[in-house]
Amino acid sequence: MGVEIEIKDLTKSFGRQLIWGDVTLTIPAGEICVMLGPSGTGKSVLLKTLIGLLKPDRGSVVIEGVDIASCSERDLYEVRKLFGVLFQDGAMFGSMNLYDNVAFPLREHTKKSESEIRKIVMEKMELVGLVGTEDKLPGEISGGMRKRAGIARGLVLDPEIILFDEPDSGLDPVRTSFLNQLIVDLNAQIDATFLIVTHDINTARTVPDNIGLLYHKHLAMFGPREMLLSSEEPVVRQFLNAQRVGPIGMSEEKDADELEAEKDQELPPLPPIPMQMEPSNGIPRRSQREPGSWCKENGVTPPPGSFEENMSMVTEV
C-alpha cells in the first residue's frame, strides 16, 4: 500500500533565480504519476526537494504527517526509509560490486542474516533481469544495466514511494519500453506510489495514471492522464504532442512577436489517446481504470481513434 505525498505552495530558487513557485499537488497513494516539463524547468530539483536533499524556500511536502521541508534531520532520515529512488545514472557506489550495492541498504538498516540478505538481493536482481552480473563493478556495465541495478537497490527495503529521475535518458527506445513495462509491473506487484520525472512524451502518454506539467516556473497542469491528453490548453497540447507551434520556444518561452506570427497557423488535430500500458505479470493494478472512463465522466470527447487496441504507440505529428 503506497503513501500519499501532499505538496503545498512549494517554492524554490537558487540565489535570485526562481526555479518554480507555488507548486501545489497531491500525488495519490499507489498511483503512477509522471512529471513532465521542458529541459531546465527544475524537474530534478522538484524530485530532490521531495526527498529533502534540497530545502525549499517556502511551502511543505507532507508524507505520513511529516513535513519534509521543515522536519529535523533525524526525522528526515526516518522518512527517507519509505523512499526508493532511482537517480539518473543509477548512482551505484563505484567501489562496490552490484551485489554489495543492492545489499547495502539491507546491511545498513536491518539485522538480517547474510543468507536472508542473499535471498532478497537475488530476488530483486531477478526482478530487474540482472542475475549473473552480481560480481561486476558499476563501471563495467552499460548505462541501462546501471539504471536497472539502481531500481533493484531502491526496491530492497520495500519502499512505499518510488521516485524515478529520468529513467529513459540515455536509453534506446526498446530498453525504455522494457523499463516502462517494468515500472508498470512493479506498481501492480508492490502497490507503491510512483513518481517519474521525464521529458519523454511516449512514456508520459502510455505509462502513468496522472500527468503533471512544469512550465514557466510553475505547475501548468496536474491531473489524470486522459485529462491532459485531451486538453486544448496550449502549453499542455504543445508539449504532449511535441509540436513547434505553441508557447514553448527553443530557449524558454516564445515572445509576443513570435506568438503573433504563428497566430493564424492551423494547429494539427490532437492525436488519439493511446491505451495505458498493462501489467505483463497478470496482476491487475489497483489504480488502473477503464480506458476512456475519465473522458466519459467529464463529458470530454476523446480525439478520434483513441483507445484502439492496436494503435501505433508513436505519435505522428
Partner: protein, 261 residues
C-alpha cells in the same frame, strides 16, 4: 548595485563560515557509532601510499639544503660544533611539519577531493543520503582521522630522513666531524620541539582533510567541477596551512622559551 557589491565583499566570509560549519558537522559525527574502521584503515593506507615516497624524496634535499646553508654560515661564525644542532632544530621544528603539510595537501587532500567530488557528481552522495546514511559520518570522518594520523607519521618520517640527509651532507660532503654533529643535537633542540612538530602535523592533517572533503562534497557542474574542486582545495589548504603554521610557531615560542645553552 550596492547590495551586489556587498554580497561580493561578503561572499568569502560566507564561504569561510560554511567551511567552519562543515568542520562542526564533522566534529558532531565523530562520536557516532558504528565507527567506520574498515574505511579508516583503507583511507589511512591509501593516503600513506600516495605520500610516503614523495615525502621521503622531499625530505632529503630539505635536510641537505639546511646543512649546506647552515653549514656555510656557521663556519663563518666559527661555531662548527653546533652544525648538528642547527640542522635538527630546523628540520624538526619547521621542515618536518611544512613538508608534511605540502604532501598531505598536495597528494592526500587532492585525492580526497577528487574522490568525493566524483561521488558527488555521480549522485552517489545523494543516493547515500536517500538510503538513510550520512556521508559525513560514513566517508568524511574516517578520511579526516586517517589524514591526521598519517600526517603525524609523515612528520616523523621527514624528521628522520631530513636529519640523516643533513648528516650525510655535513659529514661526507662538507667534511664535518661526525661526533660533533651528533653530540650537538641536544645543545639547542629540546623535547617540546618534537611535540610541537607532531601537534602541527596533526592540525595540518585535519585542515587538509576538512578542506578537501568540503570542496569535494560541494563540487558541481560535471567533471570540470571536480577538477576545480581539487584545484581549489589544494590552493586553499596551502594558504591555510602556512598561516596556521605561523600562528602555531608564534604561540609555541611564547609557551616554550628557546633553550639558552
Amino acid at each position: 548595485m550596492s547590495s551586489l557589491t556587498a554580497s561580493r565583499v561578503l561572499a568569502p566570509i560566507g564561504t569561510a563560515g560554511k567551511l567552519f560549519a562543515f568542520a562542526l558537522d564533522v566534529a558532531k559525527q565523530l562520536p557516532r557509532r558504528p565507527f567506520q574502521l574498515k574505511e579508516f584503515i583503507q583511507q589511512a593506507w591509501f593516503i600513506a601510499s600516495v605520500t610516503i615516497i614523495p615525502t621521503a624524496l622531499v625530505a632529503i634535499p630539505f635536510g641537505a639544503v639546511i646543512a649546506l646553508q647552515v653549514g656555510g654560515l656557521i663556519k663563518q661564525f666559527g661555531a662548527q660544533s653546533f652544525t648538528g644542532s642547527a640542522a635538527v632544530l630546523a628540520v624538526v621544528r619547521e621542515a618536518g611539519p611544512i613538508a608534511t603539510a605540502l604532501l598531505i595537501a598536495g597528494a592526500g587532500g587532492s585525492a580526497i577531493a577528487a574522490d568525493l567530488g566524483a561521488r558527488k557528481i555521480r549522485e552517489e552522495l545523494d543516493a547515500m543520503m536517500v538510503l538513510g546514511i550520512d556521508p559525513i559520518q560514513r566517508l568524511v570522518v574516517p578520511r579526516v582521522l586517517a589524514a591526521m594520523m598519517v600526517a603525524v607519521f609523515l612528520n616523523g618520517l621527514v624528521s628522520i630522513v631530513g636529519v640523516i640527509g643533513g648528516y650525510f651532507f655535513n659529514v661526507v660532503l662538507q667534511g664535518g666531524t661526525p661526533g660533533a654533529y651528533l653530540a650537538s643535537f641536544t645543545a639547542l633542540a629540546q623535547l617540546p620541539d618534537l611535540w610541537q612538530g607532531m601537534v602541527k602535523a596533526l592540525i595540518f592533517g585535519l585542515i587538509a582533510a576538512i578542506v578537501a572533503a568540503y570542496k569535494g562534497m560541494n563540487a558541481g557542474g560535471g567533471p570540470k567541477g571536480v577538477g576545480d574542486a581539487v584545484n581549489e582545495s589544494v590552493v586553499i589548504t596551502f594558504l591555510l596551512l602556512f598561516v596556521v603554521n605561523f600562528i602555531v610557531t608564534a604561540v609555541y615560542f611564547q609557551l616554550v622559551p628557546p633553550k639558552t645553552g
